[in-house]
């Protein structure tokens, strides 16, 4: 298929997935912020979404106060923020529009009408329907997009590059969500392992729809080490790193060409570390450090995918 089209499809689904994950991060932050805590810690969790998405710097350039209202607006609705849900919906639609011919009409309609509805959204409307309801809507649109992709698209390269975008983005974002706890100061040392801590970890689980899965797999209280194992190493949980990387790796096998050997090798390397890694080792060297290395590797893989498949093929 056309390199340009493959690139647009890949980015279209990355942006849809990014919008969903941003909604998930904001939702979990919102839920955490509702927990009772000391006044001096008021609003401290709102640093998390900014840190996770790497937008603290642009945010603080235009806002003096990190608080629920400001961060929610910045991350959800701000057209000036390229990472906002608004911008993601727009980018997804722009990419889709550029390759309409490669989409099924149902896919186009989902992406297009999401953008049309998104444009109607403002702070008053978001608050009126409830912040969580808005995040649910974003997630539903993303679910719908995936369902329509799964249910209407021929299993050709267009499909594979669309799926590749979804899993690359999600592999990146689950790691960032898992890292959220690092960015949130624990209320105080004595709270570790107590109610607040429990709620925070369960919020992380819920944000990646893995709460029930955790219960089924471990039948045990929520501990950071088990939770990390679930989200990093379990390859049967659709938002875990191992699952996403397996999908990425398999997709790359299908679409590979004579310039993609290094890309496949890198994906394979990341995957085998997840497949054969042990959670105890990961914690021994530090979860945050592990995730940072992983995100760097993902970044490089993304660059290689760009080079192997999307950069124009020069003659001879």
């Amino acid at each position: 298929m056309l390199s340009r089209v493959a690139s647009n499809l890949y980015w279209m689904s990355r942006y849809v997935e990014r919008a969903e994950n941003t909604a998930r991060v904001l939702d979990v932050t919102w839920r955490m912020s509702l927990l009772v805590k000391e006044p001096r810690l008021q609003d401290q969790e709102w640093f998390a979404p900014l840190n996770i998405t790497g937008t603290l710097f642009p945010f603080s350039g235009r806002h003096s106060l990190v608080c629920a209202k400001e961060v929610l607006h910045f991350m959800a609705l701000d057209p000036e923020n390229p990472c906002s849900i608004y911008s993601c919906a727009k980018q997804a639609r722009e990419n889709a529009r550029a390759v309409r011919g490669a989409l099924t009409s149902e896919m186009w309609e989902v992406v297009n009408s999401t953008w049309l509805e998104m444009q109607q959204m403002d702070e008053a409307r978001m608050n009126a329907r409830g912040v969580s309801a808005f995040f649910d809507w974003v997630k539903e649109r993303s679910h719908l997009f995936r369902g329509v992709t799964f249910g209407t698209m021929r299993r050709d390269d267009a499909y594979h590059f669309t799926r590749l975008g979804t899993h690359i983005e999600r592999a990146d974002s689950t790691a960032r969500i898992l890292d959220v706890k690092y960015h949130i100061l624990l209320p105080s040392v004595k709270d570790v392992g107590r109610a607040v801590d429990y709620y925070q970890w369960s919020a992380v689980l819920r944000s990646v729809s893995a709460f029930e899965a955790y219960r089924k797999v471990y039948r045990d209280a929520i501990t950071p080490i088990k939770l990390a194992e679930l989200l990093i190493l379990r390859d049967d949980l659709p938002r875990s790193l191992a699952f996403c990387m397996r999908q990425v790796s398999e997709t790359l096998e299908i679409v590979q060409n004579d310039r993609s050997a290094e890309t496949l090798r890198q994906a394979g390397q990341i995957l085998s570390q997840l497949r054969y890694g042990r959670i105890a080792d990961i914690f021994a060297s530090g979860l945050h450090e592990y995730l940072t290395d992983y995100l760097d590797a993902m970044q490089e893989l993304g660059t290689h995918i760009q080079g192997s498949f999307f950069s124009p093929t020069l003659p001879r």
Binding site: M1, L2, S3, R4, V5, A6, R97, A98, V99, R100, G101, A102, S105, W108, E109, N112, S113, L116, D157, F161, V255, N257, D258, F309, F310, P312, T313, P315, R316
Partner: protein, 471 residues
Amino acid sequence: MALKQYHNEMYLADGKVRPHYEPFAQWLSETPPERIAQDRHAADLLFHRVGITFAVYGEASGTERLIPFDIVPHVIPAERWDVLARGLKQRVTALNRFLHDVYHDREILAAGKVPEDQVLGNSQYRPEMVGIDVPGGVYAHIAGVDLVKNADGEYYVLEDNLRTPSGVSYMLENRKMMMRLFPELFATQHIRPVDHYPDLLLETLREVAPRDVESPVIVLLTPGHFNSAYFEHAFLAQQMGIELVEGQDLFVQDDTVFMRTTQGPQRVDVVYRRIDDDFLDPLAFRPDSMLGVPGLLSAFRAGRVALANAIGTGVADDKSLYPYVPEMIRFYLGEEPILKNVPTYQLRDPKDLAYTLAHLPELVVKETQGSGGYGMLVGPTASKDEIENYRRRIVDAPERFIAQPTLSLSLVPTFCGDALSPRHIDLRPYVLSGNEVRFVPGGLTRVALREGSLVVNSSQGGGVKDTWVVD
């Protein structure tokens, strides 16, 4: 202006419904206005959701507008259409013969039937095409012939669009919409289908592939998603199952066209291009074109790729050559023209110029190379200032203009607000030429939504209607 001087497609002069409109009129009288209002609203929503929009030049970049759709169809009796169809086939065949001739033996010029300087000195004439043989001798594979019905009830050809005529996607979507909203109308009468147009187009494009292969690679070359007709390009590519490419997706090597794919370069046989000649190949035409493919002309001349339409077709649909089309039909086919031409004054001719300048308020004046309704003067509806401004433009370069009597475009009732009101229409059938000439019955009906307006172009406030050929 009294309405009775116009031909009304639906009503006779005495107010009775014409027979071919009776089933529709019946349905209209029996259907509650609330349902019609509701369905008209539904149509708007659906068009928006499907994204059938066009960009308007001159407005803020990226402005997308919905082309207004009216639910009252333009109905043509089958026996009337069959005559039109023969006329269209005749006309487009002759135009293709003319194009082949002017780039080869120039017999029609030698015979003095068409003035040589008007052809060879025309800015749309492409010397690069001289002596080049195109597959099947077909130059204009896709033609959009604009027809209007005058007060006398006769059809006239307004212009032949032989470069990159657009609008066919609206024809297809309008029909889809009507069938979706009002299936009962299609159950009670025989309305000839149009939705096989993409199949006919694909067949036509396949036939002109220069390489003898089982399934030639065909692509649709678009200027990109900022172009006003991008929706249509994407739509047609999807309907035909071919790649929608931009200039940057193609490259030429050894006079062979390739597209860049995720699996490496793939050879291309036929390019259905929706880019004007000028922008097609920066090496041959405008060097500043970012839309084209360097080397494309050379590959085309080498016969290694087919272009639809071919390069240089503009010389045959130029408005200054339009008056000679009936002569072309007689010359090449030995037949009398079936479709009428509008009498045309050529302002390069001092006599015609003098007449035109004396009668500007009655005439329509057009630039010979304009399109899309941009830059024309409609005398009867223009203000004094507009006429005087236009007069100065004509005097500066008379050879760039033609003038025609203002035609009384026929009327079809059209929803304006919640009431029906007559509005002027034209009809653009799409004529496909490959090994044979093909078309779907009808075409795109455009309607001027402003009261009294004769300009139907979508860029000038025009809308569209479904076109029915009924048996």
